[in-house]
Symmetry: C2
Subunit: 278 residues, 2 copies
């Protein structure tokens, strides 16, 4: 899990620098000597064979591991969700992740990988943390200037940010980073859990957006067979009202979906792939 | 029209520095000798009497004008819309502005000024340029990964930005400033004008958001009397499909509104107020 390691065509060395630095930091934290025996990297943009080989060669040259395997972030996520023990036939299924952003990956019955969403905070990521944080801010604004119904969101956000009044929140929001806005999402989830109507509607709308990511991938699976769906990410933890809303929206819109009980962490997929390396 | 001149409590000197510099630049461009005879400043946050006096004193000390008048941005906008020649009784009415952001100001029949919206690109500004530019990006994303209906928006945005493919747009959007995203709005308006369904729906939704700003202020005017409404800003120019949609939404939601034929430019209000200075 490193920053800015997404790979562009002919960008293997640039990605490798970032990844090698992340590996060195992680190894130092974990007390692991380098080079490691095996390194599995899942990077956005590293799905094609040529990019994979270039990234593996560049990583070997950095000397952080004796053997490397590069693949896409989607492969890692799907390995976490549908590795040997889960999923439909041949590890097929759809993995839906909602954290700061939102994305879904599918492995179809022929083994091909597809994705929808994951387009970033301004272009997409509907139903993710930034999207929900923005909803919380906007609901507070609508309530305050009389356009929307009353809401406890303003006082929740002020308390969370240590601000005293709405004017301070306006100034905060003008400069807040995507990560800072996404960090507001749990307060909206709490409000929804406690029955606030405005927050509950936002959660339901987020769930519809997330299920749309799954729906866009369902066409790769033959109807009417059951479709394995797994979830992960900070917003879809077991007790999250967003997970409950996703469950309800899936039942309504995509009844052949079979939602896994356990949520999964995508990084576990890298460990699973590493264990499979010969 | 200067950057970052919004006034905070006890921030008169800080605002005055920015405003004086802006005045010096404008005077140099216009070939006007300073100090000017009269200076009218409309600054967000300068609506209250104490802030006004402090800002006027600070501006005088900077020596850019022999006499100054400070007031709020809303007063300026309302003077542009409902100065001597327009508006309801006593210059009362509502001025709706849509540019990069969105805001509405009202002067009620008792002369009090109210506002709704204008809360900034992340917290509010629904129906403004940033909001519409984001809709254009998201519609392109939904069409591309199969969640939404087909749209010409992707090819329009790529052409406008000089980009070659969707991946380049994803990277652009991750780093684009609010102003850069707002600059995409005209392409969505063009698509709507040419009949594209996705763009037309976005324009209609934007119009409902803008009319909600007006609706929140209508409660300050006694029913059922007619309510003068004027519009301004780059997105509500006379031929804009957004202005046509606002006209339709006002007729449906707020039938007592009487929409002025001409759109107005808020800075003209400052000139009007300057002409009234004794």
């Amino acid at each position: 899990m490193g920053p800015g390691a997404a790979m562009r065509p002919e960008g293997a060395e640039r990605s490798a620098v970032v990844i090698a630095e992340t590996v060195r930091r992680a190894a130092a934290l974990a007390g692991v000597d380098l080079p490691a025996a095996r390194l599995v990297v899942g990077a956005a943009g590293a799905g094609r064979a040529q990019e994979r080989r270039e990234l593996e060669a560049a990583l070997l040259a950095h000397g952080v591991a004796r053997r490397t395997r590069a693949t896409s972030d989607g492969e890692i996520a799907l390995a976490a969700a549908f590795g040997k023990e889960g999923g439909g036939r041949d590890g097929a299924g759809i993995f839906l992740n909602a954290g700061t952003g939102s994305v879904a990956f599918a492995r179809d019955p022929e083994g091909r990988v597809h994705r929808s969403g994951g387009l970033g905070w301004q272009l997409g990521d509907e139903g993710g943390g930034y999207w929900l944080g923005r909803r919380a801010l906007q609901a507070a604004g609508r309530a305050t200037d009389g356009r929307g119904e009353g809401s406890t969101l303003l006082s929740r956000l002020l308390a969370a940010l240590g601000l005293t009044d709405f004017g301070a929140l306006i100034r905060w929001a003008a400069l807040a980073s995507p990560a800072q806005v996404a960090a507001l999402a749990p307060h909206l989830l709490n409000a929804a859990r406690e029955g606030e109507a405005v927050a509950q509607r936002s959660v339901e709308e987020a769930a519809r957006e997330l299920v749309a990511l799954v729906g866009a991938l369902a066409r790769h699976f033959p109807e009417p067979e059951p479709l394995a769906v797994a979830t992960g990410g900070g917003l879809l933890r077991p007790t999250s009202p967003l997970l409950a809303a996703v469950r309800a929206a899936l039942a309504a819109d995509l009844p052949r979906a079979q939602l896994a009980r356990r949520t999964v962490d995508a990084p576990l997929g890298a460990l699973r792939l590493a264990a499979e390396m010969e």
